[in-house]
Point group: C2
Chain length 281, copies 2
């Protein structure tokens, strides 16, 4: 005997999608759908593979689907996604990119970016607040910019930036200064002495890349160390940090934090049972 129908999709299911090119590698369909369901939503998030030439026209028409609740944007569309919205949230305005779009109650569309907020949420869940702290951020690309801006919103004392592309580091420093002019922003090579937190948002250490984003044999044990890389889960930097006795926060923790924030944004409030976003696999 086989099932005549699956139970996870029906005529009344609310539709969400992630738009990217390529699309096969994205984790959002499985993870965001799980979070939507944990919050009691009859909803599914599906992969939507759109070519760059088709992007604006195709997505503007997808937005006409009446049961579409929202869209997530990934590479290479985070900057172009801003133009689709009637309104940008504060993070998207400061970063100049968006990775989620949802309908306002008046039918208009609002976009914001959650990479950085997800990182802040991952730190907060471990009891770490950036207020008054000194942060070293490596990588000022898409993820790094979002993380830098999100940290800047938390009233840190200082942020030092490093990126192999000096122009990108300067652009992010400007964005951070615009968020909060009181933060001591500087650009320079990775440092950790005198810093409270070390964040890697560069691709160094991803997949088969065995390099470390810092040239160190050990780290001060009071340093909190974060790596945005999700594959492998425990990067070389995180292994070094743990060997040094440091507290660590993983890329997957940021992803969970981001997903929780996105599903808030999509209009599904968190349950009071406390399991939301605290999932373990």
């Amino acid at each position: 005997m086989t099932q005549d129908e699956v139970t996870y999709v029906s005529g009344s299911t609310r539709l969400f999608g992630i738009v990217g090119d390529p699309i096969e590698q994205v984790r959002s369909p499985g993870m965001i759908t799980a979070e939507l369901r944990r919050r009691g939503a009859d909803a599914v998030l599906v992969p939507i593979h759109v070519r760059p030439d088709d992007f604006e026209a195709c997505v503007r028409h997808i937005m006409k689907i009446r049961n579409l609740g929202g869209l997530v944007f990934t590479i290479p569309y985070k900057a172009r996604a801003c133009a689709l919205a009637d309104e940008l949230g504060p993070q998207a305005r400061a970063v100049g990119a968006a990775n989620a779009l949802t309908r306002r109650t008046d039918g208009g569309w609002v976009a914001d970016i959650f990479d950085g907020l997800g990182c802040i949420e991952a730190f907060r869940r471990q009891g770490f607040a950036f207020a008054g702290r000194r942060a070293m951020l490596i990588g000022a690309g898409g993820a790094g910019s979002a993380i830098g801006v999100a940290i800047a919103c938390e009233r840190p004392a200082a942020i030092r930036l490093f990126d192999g592309d000096a122009e990108r580091a300067r652009a992010l420093a400007d964005k951070i200064r615009r968020v909060d002019g009181r933060i001591a922003v500087e650009i320079g090579p990775p440092a950790w002495d005198g810093f409270d937190v070390l964040l890697n948002a560069s691709p160094v250490g991803m997949l088969d890349d065995r390099r470390l984003p810092v040239a160190a044999a050990a780290l001060p044990r009071q340093l909190v160390v974060f790596d945005a890389v999700v594959k492998p889960e425990k990067t070389g930097l995180l292994a070094l940090a743990e060997a040094s006795g440091c507290r660590t926060i993983y890329g997957r923790d940021m992803m969970r934090g981001q997903i929780a924030r996105m599903v808030d944004f999509f209009g599904y409030p968190r349950n009071r049972t406390g399991d939301t976003g605290e999932a373990t696999s």
Copy 2:
């Protein structure tokens, strides 16, 4: 502990959709997704609610989604769906409507209609062939037309048509004659003496409608009786037929047959294990 990810959708999932207005009532998402999965496909069919004013432009842009495998069309779009295809299959050409669209290997799109073929398949599974038989068909609307044309392709001896709207009956008679000029087609009130099969494709008997599509207290027991109505599953007509000792075929059997034919059309061959489309719930 909760699930961190659902397993039924991922970045590599192939996307299918059913387009209609309204959409909440459709069964295809649950049923076609189940059939796709029984055949080993990593695929999901989602509801797509599109308003009539948006239909052509919206669907033409949805067709640009690279991982879209195909679309199903329901009320009110079966006639308008034909214009979206580069090529119409034989049933769609004869009926003048389409309810499924898929990509050819050359990237073009082909549409066809499967309501009628699903009906034929349901009869075939019960060992009934229309060749040389005499059929009484009640209802010449969307479903009735598709069923009439599909029967006409099976070399029946005769088809008698009844519809409250005489013009619709005449239009279907013409379609049947164009399929096969040798069939004895006539229009007139419901009859069963001398017929082998009685088919109801009218909405009479649907939901709270307790009427019968025929004025009879009993039916000849050699008559095979079919009702396209799916809610209720056992209509008054089917109950009368069973009380009369007739063999019966249900609307849900046609739906299963149609789903099996549509998933063939979408390019997923049937398993040899024989469970495909033979599902019981």
